[in-house]
């Protein structure tokens, strides 16, 4: 056995000597390490010279499991088989080892024959792995062009060749090639040639396994039997059905590496293939048919990544049209028929024909979804920014050139949407508002609407994430809120409608944490519904904390049909209501210890004795606080007259 080199890692000198004494005569070359650290040094320096590592589990300094974790984390080493030395009765240790990727075990004291045969089995498996790797490197991967087909084979040599060919079309091809090799060889040896597990153990121990295979391959009735492999490849998934002509076997026992077989020299291939090679692996019927599948992401090709297109309707603003037509990252069509993608149209024929460019507006829509329709002023930068956020969001990631160029227009427009606090609700209350963005565009927004009869509707929302895409979602929320009939709908119903509108329109993972409510100044009450925001707080005239509400609720757009609760808080005359996003908490405490930070804030507010104390405290806090760090911030303080 030329050049098969082992690294023996054991802190006991006597154990290392015993192993050397047993293994050297069998032809193995031996290196030794007295602890995990020394072994790691040898592995790092030795590169890929080792064909197996014999590892003692218990060692001072770096123990066996710790070294194992380092080996498995290193791409050049993770495939080298590790043979763990353990006591027969240490079941948990063995289970932990299997979990960590150890497939071979040796018991102390050593039986020389078993020792040699386990080490040989592990090093042969590794040699096969390396051979498959070399073959894989030569393949072009053109087999991925095949969507359906059948292969027929009969010998282990053909099995390995086919394993490499099939795996070359798939990601993680080295692991997959090993898996195919296991399944195909299993189908030949145990299926067609009917050599069973016990016979294999004996033949392996006697060194006659290869001989037995060759004999049966030329013997009736085995010599006429074939293994067929059917391949079906669809988008993102390839299914391989491997059938042999044998009698089948009790496959259930081999799907996992179990304690009963952990010390055997063979019988772990199916469990390893299932675990490391395939997305699914299922034996069928009596066990002579196995179906293995691999799921993958299709590589992006010119054809599969279609350029997005925009349908420009007639009579949109000339500057906007020129801008949108001048960008090569999307195609512009002017089709009159119904388009399924992004449609840019004038808001109305009347406005579009006006000579006053400043009054002109653009409507962007995707299908009929209300949350996917936006009206914007005809500012080319703003329209381009929004179009990019909608159809090429990656070009508006923070720090990209397009983001740097276009985000200011988005930010300006977003700022214009915020209500004028000098006007809103001024007869009944005073509003102070603070907004700060942690990046180019805020993911927070707030709004207010006078509903008449002394009622003021308010919302504060925090869209997932930061930057332009989150900013676009704030515009969508604002548009949806502006279109609603807020006079006749209770806050819980409003959130339900927003949830329904957002769920199909926003990509999964994007949503709005928000609070919406109505201040009834005559009744001295705030009725609201919340969707996963910090709780609203009411203070009295002197700044004393009166009551806290609840911000609990599923964020809007995350569920689609969440039953939001209608809640209310009493507001004393002259008292203040404070609504805010969690950016304020980040400002209060950068360590994110939410409850503590807010409790401290409340304690500081109390008893300051001044009218309008809550707003003053908030203003002090926000202006004196550190710059907004990781989050956008919005805070509202509404003081009731009286």
């Amino acid at each position: 056995m030329p050049n098969v080199r082992l690294l023996i890692v054991d802190d006991e000198d006597i154990n290392r000597q015993t192993l050397r004494y047993c293994l050297e005569p069998a032809g193995f070359q031996i290196d030794e390490a007295g602890d995990g650290a020394e072994a790691w040094q040898a592995l790092c320096q030795g590169g890929d010279i080792y064909d197996a590592i014999l590892l003692d589990r218990r060692m001072p300094e770096m123990d066996g499991m710790e070294l194992l974790a380092k080996i498995k984390a290193e791409s050049g080493l993770r495939d080298v088989p590790v043979i763990m030395q353990t006591a027969m009765d240490r079941e948990q240790e063995i289970i932990d080892g299997i979990e960590a990727g150890v497939h071979y075990y040796l018991t102390k004291p050593y039986d020389v024959d078993v020792l040699v045969s386990v080490v040989r089995s592990a090093t042969e498996e590794y040699a096969r792995h390396c051979r498959l790797q070399t073959e894989l490197a030569k393949r072009s991967g053109a087999i991925q062009l095949m969507t359906q087909g059948t292969f027929v084979l009969r010998s282990p040599k053909e099995a390995d060749a086919l394993a490499v060919l099939l795996a070359s079309s798939l990601p993680r091809s080295s692991a997959v090639a090993m898996g195919f090799s296991e399944l195909l060889i299993n189908a030949i040896e145990h299926g067609n040639l009917e050599l069973n597990y016990a016979e294999k153990s004996v033949l392996l121990a006697e060194g006659r396994w290869d001989e037995a295979i060759e004999a049966r391959l030329s013997q009736e009735p085995y010599c006429d039997r074939r293994v067929t492999v059917e391949v079906t490849r669809t988008t993102g998934r390839a299914v391989f059905t491997i059938a042999d002509e044998g009698k089948g076997f009790d496959w259930q026992a081999y799907m996992d590496l179990t304690m009963e077989r952990v010390f055997d020299t063979h019988g772990r291939g199916i469990a390893m293939a299932r675990r490391m090679s395939f997305s699914t692996l299922n034996y069928k019927g009596r066990g002579n048919v196995v179906e293995a599948s691999v799921e993958f992401e299709e590589p992006k090709t010119e054809a599969s990544v279609a350029k997005p297109s925009i349908d420009l309707k007639p009579n949109i603003d000339g500057d906007v049209e020129e801008r949108l037509r001048g960008i090569s990252q999307w195609d512009v069509t002017s089709a009159d028929d119904e388009a399924s993608g992004l449609v840019v149209s004038p808001v109305s024929q009347e406005i579009s024909q006006s000579d006053e460019n400043t009054d002109r507006a653009i409507k962007l829509s995707i299908g009929e979804l209300p949350a996917a329709t936006l009206e914007l002023p005809a500012d080319p930068d703003l329209v381009e920014a929004v179009v990019r956020c909608l159809i090429l969001p990656e070009t508006m990631e923070l720090g990209t050139a397009d983001e740097n160029r276009l985000a200011p227009a988005l930010f300006r427009y977003q700022s214009q949407l915020l209500p004028n606090t000098g006007v809103l609700g001024r007869e009944r209350c005073a509003i102070s508002a603070w907004s700060a963005a942690c990046s180019s565009v805020s993911g927070d927004i707030w709004g207010g609407f006078d509903l008449g009869d002394g009622k003021l509707a308010l919302f504060v929302a925090d869209m997932t994430g930061h930057g332009p895409v989150a900013g676009l979602n704030t515009l969508r929320l604002w548009a949806l809120m502006s279109d609603m009939d807020l006079v006749d709908e209770a806050p819980d119903a409003v959130l339900r409608r927003l949830d329904e509108a957002f769920k199909p329109a926003l990509p999964t993972g994007q949503y709005a944490a928000m609070i919406y409510g109505i201040i009834d100044s005559a009744a001295g009450r705030f009725e609201y519904a919340a969707a996963g925001v910090p709780h609203p707080v009411v203070f009295d005239r002197a700044g004393g904390h009166v009551a806290s509400g609840s911000g609990k609720g599923l964020p809007v757009g995350a569920g689609g049909n969440f039953p939001y609760e209608l809640r209310s808080l009493d507001m004393p005359a002259g008292g203040a209501l404070v609504l805010f996003t969690d950016g304020l908490i980040a400002l209060l405490d950068e360590d994110h210890k939410k409850a503590h930070a807010f409790d401290r804030f409340l304690a500081n507010m109390a008893g300051s004795g001044a009218e309008d104390a809550a707003c003053k405290r908030l203003a002090d806090l926000i202006s004196a606080g550190p710059n907004v760090g990781g989050d956008d911030l919005t805070a509202l303080c509404v003081t009731l007259a009286g």
């Binding site: 979990e99 997305s279 692996l281 992401e297 994430g465 993972g509 944490a513 599923l554 939410k594 990781g630």
Partner: protein
């Protein structure tokens, strides 16, 4: 955010540690693929090592949930503590995930 995938019996577990925030959004497809390629009956996301989770971190969980739903499976969240637990409870994620 860091994660480690392990499989035991019919359960695959993703053990997540560190902070789950906006800056981790690039990790989600890798995590999702790693979790879903294992042919396990149950999917568990262990958040015991998570110190902080923000809205984008919750978004990561929603993306994993959708990938699991595509395979007809649900996700169990375990080990939440401290502010991560508060955030998950505030956002009523117990209506979307099994808390264990």
């Amino acid at each position: 955010m860091k994660y480690q995938i392990s499989e035991k019996g019919d359960t695959v577990t993703a053990q997540i540690s560190g902070q789950m925030t906006f800056s981790d959004r690039g990790e989600v497809s890798g995590l999702s693929l790693a979790l879903m390629r294992v042919n396990a009956e149950k999917i568990v996301v262990d958040l015991s090592g998570v110190e902080y989770i923000d809205s984008a971190g919750l978004g990561v969980l929603l993306i994993l949930r959708e990938a699991a739903q595509d395979k007809g499976k649900g996700i169990t969240l375990t080990g939440m503590t401290g502010s991560a637990k508060e955030v998950l409870e505030l956002a009523c994620f117990d209506t979307l995930f099994t808390f264990a």
